[in-house]
Amino acid sequence: MSAGSNLSVEGLRTHFFTKAGVVKAVDDVSFSLAPGEVMGLVGESGSGKSVTGFSLLGLVDAPGKVVGGRILFKGQDLAAMSDEQRRRMRGSRMAAIFQDPLMTLNPVLRIETQMVETILAHQALPRAEARKRSIAALERVGIPAAEERLSAYPHQFSGGMRQRVCIAIALLNDPDLIIADEPTTALDVTIQAQILHEMRALCAGSGTSLIWITHDLSVVAGLADKICVMYAGRIVERGDVDEVLDRPLHPYTRGLIASLPSRSERGQALYQIPGMTPSLLGLGEGCAFRDRCPRADASCLDSPPERVVSEGRTCRCFHPHEGEPS
């Protein structure tokens, strides 16, 4: 791990112990993130990308449990921390933004309440001071008439404005890391572009690392420095965003890129990866992608190890594409 890393995750495993069996939602996930760096965590629904985010926050609900691995955050081992220490970490050093701001902001509390409580949960400040900081945070994310809007309720904002409020809440305590779980999925494309742009500027300005969880490769392409592609609980490929998108190694990454609408000619059918995402329940040994993979053979019945291709670039595949452009 590089010495200057903000966050380093090694071999993280989060399993769900259901009645039907163990679901390995996150299975041996490793990555690291430097201050100010933006990482895109890409995958289909159910690939374990959100669970990875919740594992970092320490918010995996039963029957799920982090069963292995190490999370070093600013040099501290999160697993060794007490619940109270984790709580103090959340919302201050490590903030979160969720997908649908209409669902994540409490409908019956004023924005002011929801912002001020986030500050007061982490530091002893006079209310007036916390209020002033909340106004400043709203102004920072471009909410006009911030002082008046503070006394409004979530339903009185538009979708884009609500997500800006959530971003302002995330920024309140100047975090070192923001975990954003599909924060623009519920928004219009134009609003999405604005928010992406602003998030990038805000993080670069403050040295905050950002994990952007999404299923949308085009978002990652414009926003992130690094990318991790997840499939069935594992990171199948990771590296610099341009390298991965220009020269994907893993057949799954290649399939994802090929299925982007912008890459097809008008009138031409979109490429689809054949088959369906496998059920994580009782997923056996071997590469989880092998049933859908054009390159699979008998060797894929074993699990491919995470192979380091170059500095910061890994791939889990026995038959990677070698350097051909996508």
Binding site: L59, G91, A95, F98, M103, P107
Partner: protein
């Protein structure tokens, strides 16, 4: 808000008018009170005199018109039986019933909401299952049976608590109340529990269901992600959302408690309105029955109005000024 209340009040006037007609008609249909008013050995002249005195010889619409005219002047008629104004007769009994109703409401809120929250947060704990089991019991057992069993156990066998009456009362602003004396309190325990049993069970179940739903919501997860302390998540984020349906049900239940405290008041010989109305029905004391029912109608209107106002303060999406 003011517009809302004014509009609601004007609607209420119509409602009260319609209800008064229905009540008057209904009571008229029950039977002729003349036989209970006149002594069996009375002569035909005496009988006619009484009929004329009470206006029972007039056609129905005329009787109703006279009733309405008097009611507007605050006179709901005189009791046939006690020869006292019906309203005054009821008013004497109101404090006793209200005392019981408020005490059982308090018990319901103070016990029901915390127990429901607890059972909602830890649905699989043994204590939660016990709470739910007991509440299923309180939900299903009829009030008269529970009351009689409690009298048998606590009054007859154990001799711990008195079984009837209000005990020693103290007057506050001329209104006698029981809860300020030790003896009065002891008299209240059993009737209050009896009256609260159903409501308490209902509120526990409602709170639990609401809590379980809210705990799964994204905004509770988000509150955790903001690093809030558990106490604040429970008391502010969860409770405020859970309270919305509870308020509605509590309002309705409170009205029901006052209107139908009959069973409990009868078992524990509590001198409230419920007992008065039962006695009045058995002798067809029309003015008292009508006055009582009208009072209940007004009470429900007031309770519903109060519930709507509380509701709007709890849920900003329902703010009354937002309604155009």
């Amino acid at each position: 808000m003011a517009v809302f209340i004014l509009r609601r009040l004007s609607q209420s006037v119509v409602l009260v008018l319609v209800m008064s007609m229905l009540v008057f008609l209904g009571v008229f249909a029950i039977g002729d009170p003349i036989n209970t008013l006149v002594a069996p050995d009375a002569t035909e002249e005496e009988r006619q005199a009484i009929v004329v005195h009470f206006g029972l010889d007039k056609p129905l619409y005329e009787q109703y018109g006279r009733f309405l005219g008097n009611a507007l002047r605050g006179d709901l008629g005189r009791s046939f039986k006690f020869n006292e104004p019906a309203l005054a007769l009821i008013a004497q009994r109101v404090p006793a019933t209200l005392e019981l109703a408020f005490a059982s409401l308090l018990l319901t809120v103070v016990l029901g909401i915390p127990l429901g929250l607890y059972a909602g947060f830890r649905p699989n704990a043994r204590s939660s299952r016990l709470i739910m089991g007991v509440s299923a019991f309180g939900f299903s057992v009829p009030a008269f049976w529970l009351g009689l069993m409690m009298v048998m156990l606590f009054s007859v066998f154990l001799g711990w608590l008195p079984a009837s009456g209000r005990g020693t009362t103290v007057a506050i602003l001329g209104i006698p109340v029981s809860f300020l004396t030790w003896d009065g309190l002891k008299h209240m325990i059993l009737p209050v529990i009896n009256l609260a049993a159903f409501k308490l069970s209902l509120i526990i179940r409602l709170t639990r269901a609401g809590t379980q739903e809210v705990v799964m919501s994204d905004y509770v997860k988000y509150a955790k992600a903001k690093g809030l302390r558990n106490g604040r998540i429970v008391l502010v984020h969860v409770l405020k959302n859970t309270l919305i349906p509870i308020t509605t049900v509590l309002g309705l239940e409170f009205g029901r408690t006052i209107a139908f405290a009959v069973v409990t008041e009868t078992i524990f010989a509590w001198p409230g309105m419920g007992k008065l109305i039962i006695d009045s029905i058995s002798v067809l004391d029309r003015p008292v029955i009508v006055a009582y029912l009208m009072l209940i109608v007004v009470m429900f209107i007031v309770i519903n109005l109060v519930v709507d106002i509380i509701y709007s303060t709890l849920d900003p999406r329902m703010r009354l000024e937002d309604q155009r």
